[in-house]
Symmetry: C2
Subunit: 203 residues, 2 copies
């Protein structure tokens, strides 16, 4: 069954809400979740029905089961190995952010062309020279590449990632990348978002 | 004239492309821009027509004029003062990222409830105690608030920002914020994006 992108995008929010509930809470209704997140009752009910069937009348969903179903749907259970290209501020923030683990993302290392940046980061993860990227990805069977290099270097890094067998690229550089169709590219353009915010303010 | 969000989101890409052209390039056609960015010719032509009218036949657009029109449309020329709440990795990355200036965003300072984080950052910008947020925003007439605190603190910070007269909030915490309708809220949910990428990989 295919679930729409809009629903997929809401699932981490439900999961996050469920995780912060007290441990002794065993059941939770769609209505409670909706209220807790400030979302519409009907929407939450529909979303959850897609993932885990209908809740039991007057009882709702079993919390653990629902979390399990969401994590399953999002593929958070299969740990996916990722690397970061570009150990600037954003890249380092990602390298040191341990929360990605909850999303099934295991960031193995970062790579940079500035050799003065290589070495061990504060959290014990390594930054290697970018020339080591391909061999590392092939040996470790890395499947996700995160691009946080400047725009001018992004296509180059993308090519290297594709050649290393990476299957999905999370791109934070504000350029369109060319890659074979088999490679999933997800663009995260903070400049675009900022443009939108700025334009909405100007109206 | 109101321009669609989809078009607005593409404008920073055009601007970025125009900026990296050699200084001696005075004219540029929609076709060249489309090719340079790997976008469709028709789309680029339509987008630019909305912003700056049609290009001249065989000459295209005057580069400087086009850049001007885009920056105008995006409101990049009126510098907007912003603050960051949450001086963790992401918040600090934003505080020290000078590129936001190009987007008309002038980040004045960051605020954190962890007093050990307060002081001067590497780039000479200050991190203040969160208790100073309201007074700072009121005095400096800050209009944009960037939220990079943990989810559990986000609504609290949002309330403080609204009370300080902030007009737009760029929210990186994965929760829905409640604010008066007059306040623009733009959510940037990295967990949602990651969920989408993860789900696409699992298919």
């Amino acid at each position: 069954m295919s679930i729409s992108q809009t629903v997929i995008r809401r699932l981490p929010m439900y999961l996050h809400y469920l995780k912060q509930l007290p441990e002794e809470t065993h059941n939770v209704s769609a209505t409670t979740i909706a209220a807790g997140l400030g979302l519409g009752d009907v929407q939450v009910r529909k979303d959850l029905a897609l993932i885990s069937g209908a809740g039991k009348p007057k009882v709702g969903y079993e919390k653990a089961e629902l979390m399990d179903a969401i994590e399953d749907c999002l593929g958070y259970k299969d740990k996916k190995l990722a690397v970061i290209a570009g150990a600037g501020k954003l890249g380092t923030a990602f390298l040191e952010f341990e929360g990605f683990n909850d999303y099934g993302l295991n960031i193995a290392a970062a790579f940079d062309n500035n050799l003065s940046k290589t070495g061990c980061s504060n959290t014990g993860k390594y930054i290697y020279p970018i020339s080591d990227l391909k061999e590392f990805c092939r040996t470790e069977k890395v499947i996700i590449g995160i691009i946080t290099v400047p725009s001018s270097d992004a296509q180059n890094v993308c090519d290297m990632m594709v050649e290393s067998g990476i299957k999905a690229i999370w791109n934070f550089a504000p350029v369109k990348l060319n890659a074979p169709e088999s490679v999933i590219i997800q663009n995260e353009n903070l400049a675009s978002s900022l443009a939108l915010l700025s334009n909405r303010l100007a109206r």
